[in-house]
């Protein structure tokens, strides 16, 4: 089978794939950054105990987690124009990824915060520390240790999820594979290359995740 594999065509299409890779990289980076902000806000609302913040946050998180990402993408892609909002595909895609990962990140952060023993917070309260000081000195340093590795895991998920944006014709990595397939009809070569680039991103992020895990767990043990 490999005998039939046409490596020449891969090199011919390499410039296209590299723009696709750049696009995927850019979309992922912007989406994950925005998702982080979304997640922090959603989590803060959710644990605030203030009803008008808490219930919308729960609704948002549950709606996102109970529906497929592709449906969310289509919903925004077809839904936003009917609201009179003309948003380019790439922005639509970024918004979808931001909301989707944001909901998962909200839960990751919440798990990190609730993993800190309640008793330590009481000890802080009893010694006169206020809410912000308890967050800053007691919760966050410990929550960070358990939050960073799953956050990097979510970033890996987001990079792979961004492939779905090809379905609303965003010119990212997977879309480049589709383009090459339709122009030359060589799907094996096209998607072999696409997969290869995703794996490269994956292994970079995984190395970062492993490194952070070692670093953070090491710190916790001392």
């Amino acid at each position: 089978m490999l005998v039939d594999f046409n490596f020449r065509i891969i090199f011919e299409y390499l410039p296209l794939f590299l723009t696709g890779l750049r696009s995927t990289f850019f979309i992922s980076l912007v989406s994950i950054s925005l998702a982080l902000v979304t997640g922090v806000i959603a989590c803060a609302c959710r644990i605030s105990g203030i009803k008008i913040l808490k219930y919308p946050a729960i609704a948002f998180i549950e709606i996102i987690r109970s529906t497929p990402l592709l449906v969310q993408i289509y919903f925004l892609y077809f839904g936003l124009p009917t609201l009179g909002l003309r948003v380019p595909e790439i922005q639509t895609g970024i918004i979808a990824l931001m909301l989707n990962s944001g909901a998962y990140i909200a839960e990751i952060i919440r798990a990190g915060i609730t993993s800190v023993d309640q008793g330590q917070l009481e000890a802080g309260t009893a010694s006169g520390l206020n809410y912000i000081q308890r967050m800053r000195f007691i919760i966050l340093p410990q929550a960070l240790g358990v939050t960073v590795p799953p956050l990097l895991g979510q970033s890996i998920v987001l990079v792979k999820d961004s492939a779905l944006l090809s379905l609303i014709s965003v010119m990212e990595l997977t879309r480049c594979g589709q383009t090459m397939t339709s122009e030359r009809f060589m799907p094996a070569e096209a998607f072999f290359t696409v997969a290869f680039f995703y794996m490269c991103i994956y292994f970079c992020l995984k190395a970062l995740a492993d490194w952070s895990q070692r670093k953070l767990i090491f710190r916790e043990a001392y």
């Binding site: 023993d117 008793g119 330590q120 009481e122 000890a123 802080g124 309260t125 009893a126 010694s127 006169g128 520390l129 206020n130 000081q133 000195f137 007691i138 340093p141 410990q142 240790g145 710190r219 916790e220 043990a221 001392y222």
Partner: protein, 242 residues
């Protein structure tokens, strides 16, 4: 120094504090005992408002604790609290644990706070452990750090909620010794404990609680040798045979 006036508290339907009236003068060492679930923890947690009360009044140093206008930070800074489970901050060193509140609540300069913290660690016999993390200490040592952490705020009152119940038997003594030392310095103390030896040695008064109410109070010897109520007698025989 501490006064409860007709204090009532409910958790849902559970009447956890039933019309509590209590005066603890300055310098008194009060031991609180009673069966599990009788409301001992809740009683002392109300003193620094870790728990709210539904009616009545608690006054600490002329300050109504449960008044909306009370400066809670200032109130809590004057009251040290030691928990059964220590609740040290595992990501900080022993010294950082002890310095955290003085630096951030009392706004004491770091160098000064460090000096105070080292003095308190010396008082509990753990100066040489100041640089390690709590996980590297035995239970007894952790509880002594927790006491030093409370003392570092120079409180006028120390509250202890079963400080030795989570400890292996061989470590109970070292923690009680530290507490006995505190008594000799004239600290006002409320101690929830079933350590009869400690109570007989240093307590001015023993208070026996059952089902949210104060059933009996008396000097340690009166209480342990001649309890007035059947409930107290049953309880004492239970901790003796235990």
């Amino acid at each position: 120094m501490i006064e409860f006036k007709n204090v009532n508290k409910w958790f849902g339907k559970l009447h956890v504090l039933n019309n509590i009236n209590l005066k603890i003068p300055k310098g008194e060492v009060l031991v609180i005992c009673g069966p599990s679930g009788s409301g001992k923890s809740t009683l002392i947690r109300c003193i620094n408002r870790l728990e709210k009360i539904q009616n009545g009044e608690i006054i600490v140093n002329n300050t109504p604790v449960h008044d909306k206008l009370t400066n809670l930070t200032k109130l809590r800074a004057e009251i040290g609290f030691v928990f059964q489970q220590f609740h040290l901050y595992p990501h900080m060193t022993v010294l950082q644990n002890v310095m955290l509140a003085p630096v951030n609540v009392k706004k004491i300069a770091k160098a000064e706070a460090k000096k105070i913290a080292m003095e308190k660690l010396e008082q509990v016999g753990l100066t040489e452990k100041h640089g390690v993390h709590p996980a590297q200490l035995s239970g007894g040592q952790q509880q002594r750090v927790a006491i030093a952490r409370g003392l570092a705020m120079s409180p006028e009152i120390m509250l202890f909620d079963e400080p030795t119940s989570a400890l292996d038997p061989e470590m109970i003594g070292e923690v009680l010794d530290v507490m006995v030392n505190l008594v000799s310095e004239g600290m006002t103390m409320c101690v929830v404990t079933h350590e009869m030896g400690f109570a007989r040695k240093v307590a001015n008064r023993v208070l026996f609680m059952d089902e949210g109410a104060i059933v009996e109070t008396g000097t340690p010897n009166e209480f342990f040798d001649n309890p007035k109520t059947d409930r107290a007698a049953t309880f004492i025989s239970m901790i003796l045979t235990h």
